[in-house]
């Protein structure tokens, strides 16, 4: 196993970590800043992915799309549509208490998944969509991955800066005030539901963007990509571990969990054959256990939310 191999593996992991970090940042907006338990991340991820796919892919019989627009438009479209569907969902669901919101968003994501699987004319159904262009796709293996990684990191940086800026702005303070004491915030005249909806839409648009980035990497999208385990729960665990309420924590959580997820498989594969299949299930067990340990020993995560004083002292 040589250096080029390891480097390619690292580049690949970087790309997936970057995409998951985006999702984690977005979930941080929902949960960390606004206190919204969104258990339907997969739904917004899916919408963004499919919108970008439909806009940029080559035509295929029996399905709308094939507009073959430039990739950038695909990504913009993904963000716009994901944010747009967050509006009615938010209006309907956000007034629910946190447990109920979790169940409702879980249900919404499942409905989105069923619609995607069943409406062939829109999404290609279970066949999915192929022929999606990939930026820098014509380069060599390593160069192509490196270029795509650079792209993902650029997007991640842009989003991170945007979110951080919002956090330190009056908007961010208001969101935290609403999250921590809704009654007081409302008494001060803040339009609580409107602000919550804004945060919900903002986060969902970013989830859509992450979906778009994912789709272009693989040049294809099929409904299995929006399985709740891999597209919702893993991200929740990343955020809790990394530190909800802290953007750097969100990114760190994505890094740590994905590393564990990916590298643990290499250990289990080296076990004897009969045990190797079982070992795949044990991976899931370990992830669940990690969540318990974090909740017990360090519920604020690796990088806790900064206190107000810390926030103001850093420019």
């Amino acid at each position: 196993m040589e250096l080029t191999g390891l480097l390619n593996y690292a580049l690949f992991m970087g790309i997936l970590i970057g995409i998951y970090a985006l999702l984690s940042l977005a979930l941080n907006i929902h949960w960390g800043f606004t206190g919204l338990f969104n258990a339907g991340v997969a739904g917004f991820f899916a919408v963004g992915a499919y919108v970008s796919a439909i806009l940029t892919s080559t035509p295929a019989g029996g399905r709308i799309g094939g507009f073959e627009l430039p990739v950038v438009l695909g990504w913009l479209g993904a963000m716009v549509v994901a944010g747009a569907i967050a509006w009615p969902i938010g209006r309907i669901c956000l007034r629910l208490r946190s447990d109920y919101l979790a169940i409702a968003t879980l249900g919404v994501a499942e409905i989105i998944r069923l619609v995607i699987k069943s409406e062939d004319w829109l999404t290609g159904g279970s066949r999915g969509i192929t022929g999606i262009p990939r930026p820098f796709g014509d380069l060599d293996y390593m160069a192509s991955q490196a270029a795509y990684l650079a792209l993902v990191l650029a997007v991640l940086l842009a989003v991170y800066l945007a979110v951080e800026r919002q956090l330190r702005a009056p908007w961010g303070r208001m969101m935290r005030a609403i999250r921590d004491n809704e009654a007081a915030a409302a008494a001060m005249g803040k339009d609580v539901s409107a602000r919550r909806l804004e945060a919900f839409i903002f986060g969902s648009a970013i989830m859509g963007l992450a979906g778009a980035l994912f789709v272009h990497f693989n040049r294809s999208i099929t409904p299995e990509a929006i399985d709740p385990m891999i597209a919702t729960f893993l991200i929740w665990i990343m955020l809790i571990l990394g530190g909800s309420g802290n953007n750097r924590g969100a990114i760190l959580g994505a890094l740590v969990i994905w590393l564990i997820w990916s590298m643990s498989e290499m250990l289990t594969d080296r076990l004897p054959a009969e045990v190797a299949t079982q070992a795949s299930y044990i991976r899931v067990f370990v992830i669940g256990l990690m969540l318990q340990l974090v909740l017990r020993f360090r519920p604020e995560g690796i990088l806790p939310e900064e206190s107000a004083r810390q926030r103001h002292s850093t420019p």
Binding site: D99, A102, F285, I287, L291
Partner: protein
């Protein structure tokens, strides 16, 4: 379609499914009511209960004899899980317990997969043709399922209303602080609640398994319908959970009359969203958490 066909192929399966959901929903509504959080590990606990029953059947027992044993074991497991993973979160925001229960769901599921594998397995091999009761087709296992549900529900309601412990549970559900002041030991009530919940989920998992097959995802797929049933009926109301379960079960089976069958799964979700929007306190006016 004739009336008898409608009853046999839509109503009866709907009622059987509905009773399975009902028993599960009772557990969910109890956890909502007394412990005040959404128990996301409920479905996978049902799976565990079903497979524990399978283990007993493997030793030569008849399935329906294995049921009470499985219920007992699962009750103990439920209490154990609470002591180990939920206890230290009691003082913290409930949302953390919800997240913990998500993690527990994954853990239980992987244990089932490691121990029993992922192939579907039946309790009993072969097929069972139904008997005809004046045109209505019913199998013994379906009759037993309906009977078991009735026994469990009646037993539980009686327990909650006429025994000291039952009253303590209801007190804690209404107002935990006041209950503590009146001498109710919340920790013991919590343990008792988990024991009952564990037993009930095992029963619902078993009944699902005996009417179809067992597989490691069976409980997870029931989770959202069970939540829908509990919320539909009114959180914290046992009778509500039963009513909600029956409605969700019937609605699912009859949905194929209206929508393409791929969307059968969506029925429960749609009911859930509708009730959350229109009447979050549920049909029988339960709590709104």
């Amino acid at each position: 379609m004739s009336a008898i066909d409608f009853i046999n192929f839509y109503v009866v399966p709907g009622l059987v499914l509905g009773s399975i959901y009902a028993v599960g929903a009772i557990g969910i509504t109890m956890v909502f009511g007394i412990l005040r959080f959404a128990h996301f590990a409920h479905g996978d606990m049902a799976t565990l209960g079903a497979f524990i029953a399978l283990a007993f059947v493997g030793t030569g027992l008849d399935p329906w004899t294995a049921l009470p044993l499985a219920m007992l074991v699962t009750a103990v497991v439920a209490v154990g899980i609470d002591k180990t993973f939920y206890d230290y979160l009691v003082k913290r925001p409930k949302i953390l317990t919800v997240m913990a229960s998500l993690g527990i769901a994954l853990m239980i599921r992987s244990v089932v997969q490691v121990v029993w594998g992922v192939d579907p397995q039946p309790y009993v091999r072969g097929i069972v043709r139904p008997d005809s009761f004046g045109g209505i087709l019913l199998r013994p296992r379906e009759l037993y399922t309906l009977a078991t549900v009735v026994v469990l529900v009646v037993g539980l309601v009686a327990f909650l209303h006429y025994t000291r412990w039952g009253k303590a549970m209801r007190a804690m559900s209404d107002n935990p602080d006041l209950a503590r002041l009146s001498g109710v030991d919340n920790r013991q009530v919590t343990m008792l609640t988990w024991a009952i919940v564990g037993a009930l989920t095992a029963a619902s998992g078993f009944m699902l398994g005996i009417n179809t097959e067992l597989n490691s995802m069976m409980g997870w797929h029931m989770l959202l319908p069970m939540f829908a049933a509990a919320i539909l009926g009114g959180v914290g109301r046992v009778e509500g959970a039963v009513l909600g379960g029956l409605i969700v079960g019937l609605a699912e089976e009859m949905s194929v009359l209206i929508v393409p069958s791929q969307y059968k799964m969506a029925t429960a979700f749609v009911i859930l969203l509708l009730i959350l929007l229109l009447r979050p306190s549920g049909l029988l006016k339960g709590k709104v958490l």
